[in-house]
Amino acid sequence: MITRTWRTTQIKTKMKLTDIYNFYISGFKAMTIGRILWLIILVKLFIMFFVLKLFFFPSFLKNKTEKEKQEYVSNELIRRALSQEETIIKTN
């Protein structure tokens, strides 16, 4: 009895997943203007993540550990507000 219920559930789940897959596939196949739009989306995402992010927008603090980031930002924020002589005294 338990095995049969488990199998029924498994078949139903499989059918649902197939239905969802078919829903998307038939939807994509029926697209007209959507094909151009998907092309634009893919080109845009490629430019954003594989060109801009990779070559032009690295995270400024990414090569630092948490502690180094704290230290770096604190030095930046303190130095930019105070005169250099004062800062040297305070940070040393």
């Binding site: 029926a30 845009k44 801009l52 992010k53 400024f60 603090l61 704290q70 604190s74 507000a81 105070l82």
Partner: protein
């Protein structure tokens, strides 16, 4: 000798951020606005079963899809800029900014991606009820995304619900509800989202008027104008009401922004509101800013010189006094960190007390010239008037169009000039929308976070040339996307609604 940051680098970084945000904002309000118009049309189809409304809703959905596809993910570029150009800011804001943006990203992806597929692919495959729900949920997903973005933006204008930790150098959230439901965030959300509905409604009116000018699809165009005008009129009235609330909040938390909006140099009680030129409404500014006819509204000079009475009975500090307090806060931060390294708990405690006492003025420690505390007055003054003037114009436009289409007036069908007005109102809606953001964002300069972090402290150490390069890359990229959007839109509009 002070460590200086190249001001041209700050300006280029600001310009780059403004460019990206303004281009991004071309797409977002149309998504939010069209979602409501097409949702309303599909609801009529659901209730009446009339295939005319299905055809009408499907056409506007197609234009929604074009706009959504071109605009999607353009906002992520702003997040790239935070990490590269504004690294001190990114670290300083901590999770306060990250949490709302993460929620926004998850919601945007799962909710919109799921229901938008049902909306476009599911017409003949799911029940009418489920399809209608998917259409509204697509719009709701976009609106909830906007909520979290506006929560993050509002926190920058009115930072609440956090404590600065000098050990980690980050602001740490201590009250999520205060951040997520701050009064500034609530008003900003309704003002921004409802103004987006106006833009969506004007877009529908404009495109429909084009069909009337061309004498094509006239029944479709009249029906679309009727629905759009109803949505637009409701949105215009709510936007006006929330605009009033927003002005009151600005007067309380960002008085310099209000003074710049009004080009008010010397404040007074019974302050009049300048409409334009010499035209003034007596006592109106006092009423708007303080909800009292005799309330004192400080001008730019008052805000710089201080000495005027505040609502809580205290006396306003001058800019110079705030700068002194800011320097005390930064000095205390330096002392705290030095004491922390030396494991001197007594000194740490003393420095922390001074820091906490002066933290509300922390950002003033970076201000070298009090003139830099004043935003661009002319830009603010005129942007505000353009936004409000066009907002009033849209109320009249929607009221007139709704009346004429409701009455099925032959006057409307024969008035080519009215169709031309409807068509040319589309760029005006975009101008009003962009002017609103100029007021909100230029008005808070020089602050990235109000009173806590000015732009010259928030910026990363970069080469000006690299920021210039990426500025022009974005300019080209966004312009290409915009041309693509307009081209595909025009093609779809020329083709018209498809038979079902």
């Amino acid at each position: 000798m002070q460590e200086t940051i190249d001001t041209s680098m700050i300006d280029w970084s600001r310009a780059q951020f403004a460019l990206t945000a303004m281009y991004h904002w071309l797409f977002v309000p149309l998504t939010l606005g069209l979602a409501v118009v097409m949702g309303t049309m599909e609801t009529i189809y659901y209730r009446t079963g009339n295939a005319f409304w299905k055809r009408t809703a499907k056409f506007w959905m197609k234009l929604f899809g074009v706009n959504f596809a071109i605009g999607v993910a353009t906002g992520l570029i702003l997040e790239f800029q935070f990490g590269t150009n504004w690294s001190n800011y990114s670290w300083f804001v901590g999770d306060i900014f990250g949490a709302p943006l993460a929620i926004e990203g998850i919601l945007a992806f799962f909710m919109e991606a799921t229901f938008i597929a049902v909306m476009f692919f599911g017409w003949e495959k799911v029940s009418r009820k489920f399809h209608l729900a998917s259409t509204w949920l697509t719009g709701l997903g976009a609106t909830i995304s906007a909520w979290w973005i506006l929560v993050a933006n509002s926190w920058m204008q009115y930072p609440v619900g956090m404590v600065f930790n000098p050990e980690t150098m980050r602001n740490e959230m201590v009250d999520f509800m205060a951040v997520a439901f701050s009064p500034v965030a609530i008003v900003k959300f309704f003002h921004t989202v409802l103004s987006s509905w106006i833009l969506g409604a004007v877009f529908v009116v404009g495109v429909s008027c084009w069909y009337l000018i061309r004498k094509r699809e006239q029944a479709f165009a009249r029906a679309s104008i009727k629905v759009a005008s109803a949505v637009g009129l409701f949105a215009s009235l709510v936007t006006a009401a929330t605009g009033d609330q927003s002005a009151y909040q600005v007067a309380q938390v960002q008085p310099m922004k209000l003074a710049a909006m009004e080009a008010l140099y010397d404040g007074s009680a019974h302050a009049p509101l300048t409409v334009v030129g010499p035209v003034r409404i007596p006592e109106m500014l006092s009423v708007l800013a303080t909800h009292s006819r005799d309330g004192f509204v400080p001008g730019i000079n008052d805000l710089l010189q201080g000495g005027y009475p505040l609502a809580d009975g205290s006396t306003a500090l001058s800019a110079e006094e705030k700068i002194e307090r800011g320097k005390m806060a930064v000095n205390a931060l330096a002392d705290y960190r030095q004491a922390s390294k030396a494991a001197d708990s007594v000194q740490m405690e003393a420095a922390l007390a001074t820091l906490q006492q002066n933290m509300p003025y922390f950002g003033y420690g970076y201000i070298r010239d009090t003139a830099s505390l004043v935003p661009h007055v002319a830009l603010m003054f005129w942007s505000f008037r353009i936004m409000v003037g066009l907002g009033v114009y849209f109320i009249f436009l929607f009221a007139l169009l709704l009346f004429l289409t409701w009455k099925k007036s032959s006057f409307f069908d024969q008035s080519g000039w009215l169709h031309q007005i409807g068509l040319w109102s589309v760029p005006l809606a975009y101008i009003a929308s962009q002017a609103g953001w100029i007021v909100a964002e230029v008005g808070r300069q020089p602050w990235t976070i109000q009173d806590l972090l000015p732009v010259n402290a928030a910026i990363s150490h970069l080469e000006t040339g690299s920021v210039q390069t990426t500025f022009f890359i974005f300019l080209v990229l966004f312009t290409v996307l915009l041309i693509a959007e307009i081209g595909i839109m025009i093609q779809a509009i020329k083709k018209g609604p498809e038979d079902i």
